[in-house]
Each structure stands twice: as C-alpha cells, then as structure tokens.
Symmetry: C2
Subunit: 247 residues, 2 copies
C-alpha cells in the first residue's frame, strides 16, 4: 500500500472513529509495510509492541486515561532438578556464558517458548540437553528478577522432574559435559555456596523428597474463556481441604 | 537524523561488523525517529520488540542459528485473597468487563507494573481498589494461560494477604461496590462454581489457614549479577531441611 493512498484513508478513519466514540484503535503493520510506520506515528499513534514480523501501533482517542492492555513484561525460564535413586542430580556444564567460563555444574535450564507450558518446557529442555526422558513432579520455587534485558523482567521456575531413563547423551552445540552428580557435591560447589539465590534453591531441592510434596503441581482446568490452562498449587492443601469436607 | 546521512553510515557499519565477526547487532530507534524504521529494515534488520516510545531492531549477521534473547512472552497479574478474623473475604464488583456485567463478587485483581514485584503489586491493588492496607503472606497458586492477547501468555498469581485495617473506601472509577463477604457466600456464587479454575482457587483459599503454610513466600536474595530479587518457595520445606541438618 502506498503512503499517498494510506494517509488520507487513515485520517478519514480517525475522524470517523472519533465521531463514533471509539476509544482504542489498533493498527498491526507487517514488517513489509515498514514505510507506513512513520505516517501512522504522525497521525498520533504510539507503539504498543512488536514481534519479528510486525509492529503493533495504538491510538487512544478520548481524553480519559487509557485502559489499553499492557505489553508483555516477563520472559519465563525454567531450571530442572532431576534426581535418581542414588541421590545423584542431573547436571551440565555449558560451553559458553558466565557459567561455562566458570566451569560450574548446573541444572539444565532454558527459556519457555511462546505459548509453551512451564512443565512442558522443563521436560523439553532436559530432553534436549541430556536426552533424559522425565515426568514432571512439581515446581519447588520460582524467582522474579527485574531489568534482565531491555528493562524487562524474568520469572524463573525451579521444577522437579522424575527421570524415566538414566543414560545421558548430551547435546553438542551448547553443552560441554553432562553427568549424574551426588547432590552434596553439587551443593558444595563454591559458586552455589557463594550466591544466595542458588544456595536457597539447592537447599530446597536437597530437602525435597517425593513424600513431602511442598511444591506446586500443575492441574489442568478450563479458563473462563474455555481455554485449557494449568493452575499450579500445593495439592496436599486441596487434599486436606477435601478430607475436612468429607470429600 | 536524515535518511541520506543515516543509510550510508548504517551500510558502512554493517560491513565493518561483518568483518569484525560481530554476531548480533541492536538498533534502538526512539519513536521520533520513526522515519528511520523502513531504511533499517531494508538493510536486513527485523523487529525485536517495542515499547510506547521506541522500537528495537536486530540483525543477526552470521549464517549460524541466532542466539538472541527472546522477547518478553508473559504479562503478570495478581488476585488478592484477603480474609478477616470472621472468615469474611474482601470482594469487589467491577463497573465494566465480563465480571461487571455478570455482577460477580471477585477478589481485587490487577496487572503488575513493569519492574514491580508480585507481592508489591498485590498490596498496591488492594489499596487502590478498597483502601485496605495489607501485609503479604504467601502465594497460594498461580495459573498460566496462553493466547490471552496478541498471542502472548499470562501468569496470574493468587496471593494471600493479611488485612491491617477493615474500613473499606472503594475506588470510584472502576469499582461499583466492595465489601467483606462470608467466604461460603463467595464460594456459592454460580460463576465461581461453574468455572473450574475459579473453583480450585476458591477451594484452596477457603482451606488455607495461617498455620498450614502450604504456599510460597517471597524471600529476598541477591541474584548472581548482584540485583536484589525475590525467590518464592514453601518456607516450611526449608525449615524442615534445616531442622534435619540440625541448623
């Protein structure tokens, strides 16, 4: 679409929307229409968010404070605590990054893909990095960190998984080494001992056993809009409640 | 900056970066430089993300798969479970939206601001909607929902807070009414009974007492980069572990 056609049409539409009492107006411009970004901004639009292949612009027409939905604010990461029956934990050494340089043995970690459930991401990352199949048990802890990248925040979920096999076959591009390591040895690493947030997590994991169930388990439930979503909570709590009710 | 000046400089820089073996290149264009978006895209850049006042573009130069950090994928919301000593829960009716139209009495809810901690957001929203001061107790549950807005996901945290005062003074612009309601009455609402995810949360909250501590509490800890962040976990679990260790 040509600017000469687009701009008069946009002006006419805005004037019509204003008369109709429309509040928020959204324009999604695919990246191939990048030449229309400037004229859209000139008509009063601001940026809302962008993905690789499009830019979303928005214009709040009335004088009242805008009630437009917020832009996404968080990335979601997972760390996987996988322990075998010998109290050995599945750990990896990364090829690059801060951990790689220090030679720290760490849990498999990764970033959840857009639209991916936390529990699914944990199973996927363990499989990708070590080829170990697992089943999800519970979330033991999570950490919220701000200003991780471009002012955004991060939620990092520590997930406990049960191994379904034990022969490691490490991924080559990012992982230098992988092994089952006695949990005491993992915890004794100077890096873990030195950093508060790692130490907490190591202590929580180390204290965890199948019977205690102090974490949050995913339970599928339909949302009000009929979408399948997972609610994570302490199942023991709901069980106690049901027993109380005689349920 | 003029396009005639910008484009030759950008071309020269890209050629230099390529020679130097630079991998990822970032360009942050303030919205006042919207006229430079199109020429930047023409040189091979794609969008990464945008905020109200800027657009971030990125160019991965080598042939290898890009390892650029992901764009933020989640909004973060909170719901506040505030109960007084008479087992009455703080509830509001909203003026607009799906809940408002149905006349549902619901917990105060809201969206965490960029950079705001979950527990801080919960205290703020209760204060804004009802003028009740609270202290944070724990997170009882959370729900992950996908495709909530423009393909993004949402993490909604159900937070238990202890009221420090009891006289409600509701906010006028968004809240139609607010009250302390017996928890049984809250739970008996057809809307809550009808929707699985609400019913779970209501049951968890109803079963919760101060002594059971089955939720996750925020504990401050320095991250590896020295930033103060909060790790949320079941404190009882860590306590058990410490007792075990004789700590």
């Amino acid at each position: 679409m040509d600017c000469d056609v687009y701009v008069p049409r946009l002006k006419a539409s805005i004037s019509q929307w204003r008369q109709q009492g429309v509040k928020g107006v959204w324009i999604k411009l695919p990246i191939r229409l990048a030449h229309l970004v400037e004229p859209t901004v000139k008509e009063g639009f601001r940026y809302h968010h962008a993905e690789s292949d499009y830019l979303m612009l928005v214009y709040w027409i009335p004088e009242t404070p805008d009630t437009l939905p917020a832009n996404a604010s968080h990335t979601v990461g997972i760390g996987a605590f996988v322990m075998n029956n010998n109290r050995e934990v599945l750990v990896v050494q990364e090829k690059s990054g801060a951990f790689g340089a220090k030679g720290v043995w760490k849990f498999p970690t990764g970033v959840a893909n857009q639209g991916e459930d936390i529990w699914t991401a944990a199973i996927r990352e363990v499989k990708e990095e070590t080829d170990i199949d697992t089943e999800f048990v519970e979330i033991l802890a999570f950490r919220q960190t701000h200003k991780t990248f471009c002012g955004k925040s991060d939620l990092f979920f520590v997930c406990m998984l049960r191994p379904l096999c034990f022969d490691i076959n490490k991924q080559d591009s990012e992982i230098k080494a992988a092994q089952w390591m006695p949990i005491e040895e993992y915890m004794a690493q100077p890096y873990i001992q030195k950093h508060e947030s790692f130490k907490y997590v190591a202590e929580i994991c180390s204290g965890q056993s199948k019977s205690s169930c102090s974490g949050f388990c995913p339970v599928p439930a339909l949302s009000t809009s009929g979408k399948k979503s997972y609610t994570y909570f302490n199942k023991l709590q709901l069980q106690n409640k049901k027993n109380e009710l005689g349920g």
